[in-house]
Amino acid sequence: MRNPALLASSLLALLLALQDAPTAHAQDVGDMRVFGSMQSLFMHQYSYSEINIPEARLSLEEKESRNTFAIQQLDFFFDKPIDDAFNAFVDLEFQLNYSSEKRWGSLSIQEAWLNYSYNDAVNLKVGLLFPAFNQYNEVKNRLAVLPFIFRPMVYERLLAQRFLTEDFIPEHAYVQFSGWLPTRNLMLDYAVYVGNSEASYITSNHPDGGIDTDLNPNFEFLSGVDPTDINLKLFGARVGLRSPGERFRGGLSFTRDANNMRERFGAQKPYFSEEAIRLMPDDAKRYRFGIDLSHKHGDFLVEGEIIKVVYDLGKAERKLDLSFEQSFVYTLVGYEMHERLFSFISAQWGDYSFGLDADYFTGTAGIAWKWRDDITAKAQWVLYTERMENVVNEDGLHYGQNTRLHFFLLGLSVLL
């Protein structure tokens, strides 16, 4: 079905056909269960940017404010038990008032997998899946189970222009072994997985414009598939501990894949010498390390994540002392004011260095009120600041930029 509008309307018709009890959380159709969630929001954004050009002794200021309504996200889940050992699961996601006619938003398959469960210690998942990485990756688009409107920055898709998700976390994998083993007082979780290279290998911008779908156009027989060899694939793992009531969760995560430097150089060329560009590999090995921790004590919740991303730039690193690293730190303190009222404050910060030197900080506070079992009202304030030094534009002009964004958000999260 090539026409996205037809696909969307067919899906809607299917869902309407399956739905005969409007208040049910989940609808059983034979053995298949259909359920979902949506989050609508109102956002007020105030932006301030200051650009300093030392060479010209010039300072420029820019301000803007905007208000918008949106269906931030709408997800439909299909859960089908096949027998005692197998089950299949699909997550279809619509973002930002998706309309193919008006070219707004997106419709995507976020997950579609088959799981084989031998026992609780041995599970094999095959298909498009969110792999285990820190504590949020597997639930990064499950807004109904999170108190946020804006998620921690690297998981927030509305900030994709600022944070390319794949730089920090493994977006998808295709095969995952996972399970848990009992220890004396805790549960030991493990997961190991393999997946494709990052999305830019599958569809990248051609230097002359247009879209490239293969590294070597002479062998471009298929589009939309990963054209890379096995050595560039994603390999990852997580080991973690949980208390039986899940008030404590913690773990260590690791992935290894490659960054498509052909793609990245499009924007970064002004920062490097000819020699650096010559020595830089086309595919830089990338290693992500993660630590996560969450502990609920009484009515308080404390949680955090650290992500460190390190690149192997080969000869360029050894001969020219170039390095490229990214980091992200997320902390949150939450307080359950009432069993249906949760408040939180969170600080997030990080930096990246790849030619230009930049760091950023986010402070946020919010509240989530579970009005009914299936409706949660949310409010959140977000302050995002970013400092960039040594930015170079296409004409070779060096400048610094400070950006400050305020978001005031109101949201309604509904279980379908």
Binding site: F77, N115, E138, V145, P244, G245
Partner: protein, 145 residues
């Protein structure tokens, strides 16, 4: 001496006042389908089952977790395993939305719990002991108040 006796009586009355509700609390039981190969269950094991982490009994049978929608028995059960119903709901929702497990089968009354557990292989539930009727094929594996 008279004052001491008064104090003693008052203390006993006060103790009786506070302890009576405990004594009057209903005897609750955790029940399973008769074929489940478990004779007793600890609080830790109940937590593993009700948080949907343990999905099978030792013989490999799938566990079907049964819950009642509301009531004093429900409150007593969650107090017994040391969690609040809201906390448990969040865990169930997270498991359901990640495809890791289906939430418990929720029924309206304890009589329905008994009927469902008796009729479903691998099922587990909790009820007031008085709800149990003879002729229903269930096994009691834990008692609490």
């Amino acid at each position: 001496m008279r004052i001491s006796r008064q104090i003693l009586y008052r203390t006993m009355l006060t103790a009786l006042f506070f302890c009576a509700p405990l004594a009057l609390r209903a005897q609750m039981v955790v029940i399973t389908h008769a074929s489940v190969p478990v004779k007793s269950i600890s609080v830790r094991e109940l937590l593993d089952v009700y948080t949907l982490n343990q999905s099978r009994w030792d013989d490999g049978t799938r566990i079907t977790v049964v819950d009642v929608k509301s009531g004093k028995g429900r409150d007593a059960f969650f107090e017994y395993i040391g969690m609040s119903p809201e906390e448990m709901q969040r865990i169930w929702l997270r498991k359901q939305f990640t495809g890791k497990a289906r939430p418990p089968r929720s029924v309206g009354t304890e009589e329905e719990v008994v009927d469902l557990v008796a009729a479903t292989e691998g099922a587990i539930g909790y009820v007031n002991e008085r709800t149990l009727k003879s002729g229903k094929s269930v096994r009691i594996i834990a008692r609490f108040k």
